[in-house]
Symmetry: C2
Subunit: 439 residues, 2 copies
Amino acid sequence: MVTMLDIIQKKKGNLKHTKSELKFLIDGIVNNSIPDYQLSAWLMSVYFNSMDLEETSYITKLMMNSGDVLDFSDVGDIIGDKHSTGGVGDKTTLVFVPLMAALGLPMAKLSGRGLGFSGGTIDKLEAIPGFNATLTSDQFKQLVKKNKMAVSAQSQSLAPADGKLYALRDVTCTIDSMPLIAASVLSKKFASGTNLIILDVKCGKGAFMEDSKQAINLAKFMVDIGYRLNKHVLTVVTDMNQPLGYAVGNAIEVKEAIDTLAGNGPADLVELTLSLGSVALTKAKLAQNIDDAKLKITQAIQSGLALEYFAKLIQAQGGNSQVIENPKLMPQAKYIKTLTVNNNLGNELWISDVNGKIIAMAAKLLGAGRSFKGEKINLAVGIEVFVKIGQKVFINEPLATVYADTEDSLNIACDYVYKAVKFSLTEVETPPLILGSYE
Amino acid sequence: MVTMLDIIQKKKGNLKHTKSELKFLIDGIVNNSIPDYQLSAWLMSVYFNSMDLEETSYITKLMMNSGDVLDFSDVGDIIGDKHSTGGVGDKTTLVFVPLMAALGLPMAKLSGRGLGFSGGTIDKLEAIPGFNATLTSDQFKQLVKKNKMAVSAQSQSLAPADGKLYALRDVTCTIDSMPLIAASVLSKKFASGTNLIILDVKCGKGAFMEDSKQAINLAKFMVDIGYRLNKHVLTVVTDMNQPLGYAVGNAIEVKEAIDTLAGNGPADLVELTLSLGSVALTKAKLAQNIDDAKLKITQAIQSGLALEYFAKLIQAQGGNSQVIENPKLMPQAKYIKTLTVNNNLGNELWISDVNGKIIAMAAKLLGAGRSFKGEKINLAVGIEVFVKIGQKVFINEPLATVYADTEDSLNIACDYVYKAVKFSLTEVETPPLILGSYE
């Protein structure tokens, strides 16, 4: 009989777990028979000695099957999902879900609430008056069937082993382990019944992982787990040194998503949407190749179809779709201040840095993010930064707009913005957004 | 304000703890404000990234001061203590305490009960009818003052932070970490008011540490901690591949200790006693040098003074000192069987192995050791192995005597003994007992 002590001892000694050991572990988590102090010792051993592809694939499968597993077989063979490891100003999901649905790829998107500098997808959508992001499994499935899309807060009944492990990792400094990240993300996705998962692995100052090598390893690793569990996992590694798009907040990010679906999005967000969308559509055989897919995406935006689908998504979940024409129906900040390029270096300048971490801290300080689970966040506040690294700017040009609910936070956030943006007198290269794509 | 997450993060990242971090940690253990799952994550990080001399010295001091600290200043400037990291047949303390007291070095020995293949010092002494090894702090101090010696079970009020940490290490596979071992052993010793601590670090098949390099590192490390905390810590690294002396059990080990104090001890136990005793007496300035100390020890044994002190120790703690003349007053086994050298290799043989681990397993199987805290052990049973590696033996010569309380266990233990002892047709070198001595 295997014991938890044997399991800790093995991983501590850098040995590979057997399937029965991993089963003992996940069963023990589900039925609460393994004390937290033993789990956390094991987690820390995994942090140091890792798990290989075979171990991680198997534990992912066990975690996926530790609770309910949604079944969309009556909707179609391929059900899409999109996940980002989290970045500053990342509203891509809001654009991606209606766009893919419009092009025939059903999207069943379960999402978490944000913890950190800004809200998650669910929080952002709740800036839309009336929007209900807490669907039952049945409601969720019905909407995917009917409209080819739904977005809901994650149910506790999916992958409960991950829920418990994640909570423990969060309080024991064992979040940043590649096999634990991969198993956590993928077990939830697979349990939600999706089988074409587009993962955006962010790296840089504004992301969880700063190192691109690490991010690429994680991306490839998750693709490989997909193969072993018979799911399509597509990963794109993207730069997150500077914010994505302009807006960092909640209501202001929804507005930017609407602009993007209407064809007026920031270049980087449009590029990312095209990149993620084209690999997804091609894999789902809804486009012949990447170029064909990009063309279809562009047409869906230009024709207004993508925006129609966003309206449909909002209406189906009880929201007021008039926000599309009138974004001011969403929560509005009391204080709005636009900062300009104000620098005595010279008239002609290049942006050499827009520090995503500092912008994130400013957004958090304004109240756009939460520090602990369940904390209320302010949906109105945030920051729009209009400049990108490598961009040429002129003195007195608009630099950023800060949306605040108090004068104090407005002033501090403005200082942060000036700290985050750096200028150069000589030309600066534009860094690439997409660092790699793996399938 | 430091948090437990910061502390875990730091050690996980192989950074050095500050004094205030370590204070936060030990305070949190004492007042139960740090959850076990965070402590165990930290413990595992320490296993992987270790702690240096400065960190370990400071945490040892904090652990020592986490509860009562005994004060023997009215007894003398130097109070001796002796500790072994644990080995098979290690009854040295029973010999050492009365011997040192007889030569003028006060010995205040607090000891644990054994967990594993045989009893601890306290269990062994309880084989003496009437012996009370559970003294109050006051009784303990009075006896050290009056007789220059006392042996008692460790009080829970000394180094309680170590008690809690040790219990957690035991169930999270984090026992085998050099800084954690050093801090645990030394904090208890220092809290018991002693300042001349002789540590016998065992290594080999029958010990906790198999690798001599590791054992030597631990020995030196503990000496260095002693300097930093202004205590004399003397360490001797000794071989524990084969059992120490002949007897492995409880009553039979007491008998062997009596024999040794009477001048009839096994050569290896005598050698170890001389080695540990001579460094202790020299350091305590009770002998001019090592040779002088060895002479004094030999004289104390030959004159009968050492044995008189053992009688005094027994009487002072309520025991029947007639066991010295009549060891049969101690618990006796029902079945006693002597095995002989029984080998068809040839008439003239050399012993090439006496596997301490296998002998230990046999003693445990007979009932001499315990598997869990509080388990009753059988004080009568055990094994005497009369041969040592490198010894020349002849066919039909006595090899071992097994003391059992059931026929079944007798038979299985005999099989184990035959498995533990290996013979060679060619001469085998006698391995050294003392591998190093550090102060």
